[in-house]
């Protein structure tokens, strides 16, 4: 009666989504002009061993060459952002641990920065240094794991991965002794940190930092000069700088493409302006560059950790006046971001003056970096697609939220 157009009728508007294809039908993809219909569509995932979680790639292959690639995700979606709007500001802090579950310390920090901006809180000097220490430890942790996983994707039978995980456990032990939890640290607070690190803990960090350089040397000796690794990764998955910038890619992936953009330099948050470090940049933007940029970043992190440990001042780690529970910031909005190990991790908060944020939004680096996956994979073989995905460095907790 109201709708002459049948397509707009309610029954037609509720479109049935086929869960199997998610609207993507490769068989309807017209075949390439010369190659004919010899296309093979395979589904890599969601429980494929090298998708690093429940991620799925619908790949159309011509022989072994990727002709189309469609990422499918959402299997781990937990309604993170909506939950943030129903939870108090402090209540969201442990949830941020679960975003990128490798890097809970940096997630905490980015969220804390957003809330501190919103509520106008200041952070004691000692806490800033502790935050830098923890963020750089997290960077070491993340990049080490990534290198291990990437080499696993290249077909190393576990050796680099086990080496990487040995070092990861040492860092996780430090996190556990400081925060009480290995991976879900929930350590940062608005206006500082939850616990003051003891001298013994700091000594343990110094010890770890001292042995990390030799570990990296060993790791690189095993992998970096290996001809097979070079053959597998050099020239594979090239990401042009223009595409990287236009797609919003950040972090080591962007820097591997030759853009020296690092929020630690650009924003100069925390005490980074007082510390001396360099930003490694790749020239080719391929998988090898992404790997090497991360290795070089780890070496910079070691130097950053040394400087931060040496310069660590005394004093409190938490602003005693900062209100944690029942925090009600003035109405307004704030965006807090830091250079996480995977790229720009940001939190956008809108406050309406109540105890819960009106709007809570995450800018996840994994998700944004993942959007260029198809562009990187086209024309490469399926074996390359796997290592390209590995080099993007995603964590599904953050992609799906």
């Amino acid at each position: 009666m109201f709708d002459a157009n049948p397509a707009a009728s309610p029954s037609a508007r509720v479109r049935k989504v086929e869960p199997s294809s998610f609207g993507f039908q490769p068989s309807s993809v017209p075949p390439p002009a010369g190659g004919g219909g010899d296309l093979l569509e395979i589904s890599l995932g969601p429980h494929h061993p090298s998708t690093h979680g429940v991620f799925r790639m619908n790949v159309v292959l011509d022989g072994e060459t990727v002709v189309r690639l469609k990422p499918v995700f959402g299997y781990l979606h937990r309604n993170h952002e909506k939950l943030g709007e129903g939870t108090s500001y402090l209540g969201s802090m442990p949830y941020t641990d679960r975003l990128d579950y490798l890097n809970s310390m940096t997630n905490n920090w980015a969220y804390a920065i957003a809330v501190e901006k919103l509520a106008g809180l200041t952070v004691p000097e000692r806490a800033e240094y502790v935050r830098v220490i923890l963020a750089e430890l997290t960077r070491l942790l993340n990049h080490t794991c990534l290198a291990g996983f990437l080499m696993q994707d290249c077909g190393c039978s576990g050796t680099p991965l086990m080496y990487a995980f040995r070092e990861r456990e040492r860092i996780l032990d430090l996190f556990e002794s400081l925060s009480g939890s290995r991976m879900m640290c929930n350590y940062q607070r608005f206006g500082g940190c939850r616990v003051d690190p003891t001298p013994a803990w700091l000594a343990a960090v110094a010890q770890l930092v001292d042995r990390y350089g030799p570990f990296l040397d060993e790791f690189e000796e095993l992998l970096t000069g290996n001809e097979i690794i070079m053959a597998r990764t050099q020239g594979v998955g090239r990401l042009p700088a223009a595409l990287a910038v236009n797609a919003g890619v950040t972090g080591p992936m962007l820097r591997a493409s030759g853009v020296g953009h690092d929020l630690r330099k650009v924003d100069g948050y925390g005490v980074y302006p007082r510390l001396n470090f360099r930003v490694p940049v790749g020239d080719h933007g391929d998988v090898y560059d992404r790997y090497m940029v991360r290795v070089l970043e780890m070496r910079e992190s070691i130097s950053l950790l040394r400087q931060a440990l040496a310069a660590l001042p005394g004093g409190p780690v938490l602003d005693p006046k900062a209100k944690q529970r029942g925090l009600r910031p003035k109405a307004g909005e704030a965006y807090g971001r830091i250079e996480g190990p995977k790229g720009e991790i940001g939190f956008y908060l809108v406050s309406d003056g109540t105890a819960n944020p009106y709007r809570y939004r995450v800018r996840p680096p994994s998700f944004v970096n993942l959007t260029v996956l198809e562009d990187l994979c086209l024309g490469h073989t399926v074996a390359d697609a796997v290592i390209i995905l590995g080099s993007i460095d995603i964590v599904l907790g953050e992609v799906d939220r």
Partner: protein, 188 residues
């Protein structure tokens, strides 16, 4: 005349007929591999070890691979459930079988009744060394010619199978990195 010969002959005939009847090309190729293995067994039974092993290496290890590769490369759809061969028309079947029957009717009686001079007693022995001497001596020219033929035929096969024309080039292989995204300005 032995059981081994009969068994091998049976294997050869059964697998060869099954291979030629089968509608599934992969089954055909694999059954024919069994025929080739049976023939290699027959050569061994006859005492021609070297030829038997050569037959196994070349046919089972080489030709069968090429055949299977060709079968896989020439499917219409890569995930087609079966590699089926279209049925031949009735006329073709009748004519083909009639011609075959005619040939068989000529050959089989001839083979059965032909008076052949035969050697009694154990078969000849042929060592690898002797084969080598024969190949490098009286048959040297033939070896060289076969070498040239093989090389030429392989180059020809490469030329035939390699995609050379532009229309054979797959669409995605345009030298670029795929689709564009927005304006491709250099970042400042």
């Amino acid at each position: 005349m032995s059981l081994a010969f009969l068994a091998l002959a049976l294997v050869c005939v059964v697998t060869a007929s099954a291979a030629m009847i089968s509608r599934n090309l992969i089954h055909s190729a694999l059954l024919l591999v069994l025929t080739w293995i049976g023939l290699a067994g027959l050569y061994l039974w006859a005492g021609a070890d070297f030829v038997g092993f050569s037959q196994a290496i070349v046919y089972v290890g080489g030709v069968s691979m090429v055949v299977l590769f060709a079968v896989l490369l020439t499917r219409r759809q890569r995930d087609e459930p079966l590699v089926l061969i279209p049925e031949a028309g009735v006329g073709r079947v009748v004519a083909g079988l009639a011609a075959t029957f005619w040939v068989a009717a000529l050959l089989v009686p001839a083979m059965v009744v032909a008076p052949l001079v035969q050697r009694a007693g154990p078969g000849p022995t042929l060592t690898v060394k002797r084969i080598g001497e024969l190949l490098a001596g009286p048959h040297l020219v033939a070896v060289l010619v076969v070498g040239v033929i093989l090389t030429v035929s392989l180059i020809g096969a490469l030329y035939l199978a390699a995609p050379v024309t532009a229309e054979d080039q797959p669409e995605w292989d345009n030298g670029g990195t795929g689709r564009d995204r927005g304006n491709q300005e250099e970042p400042s």
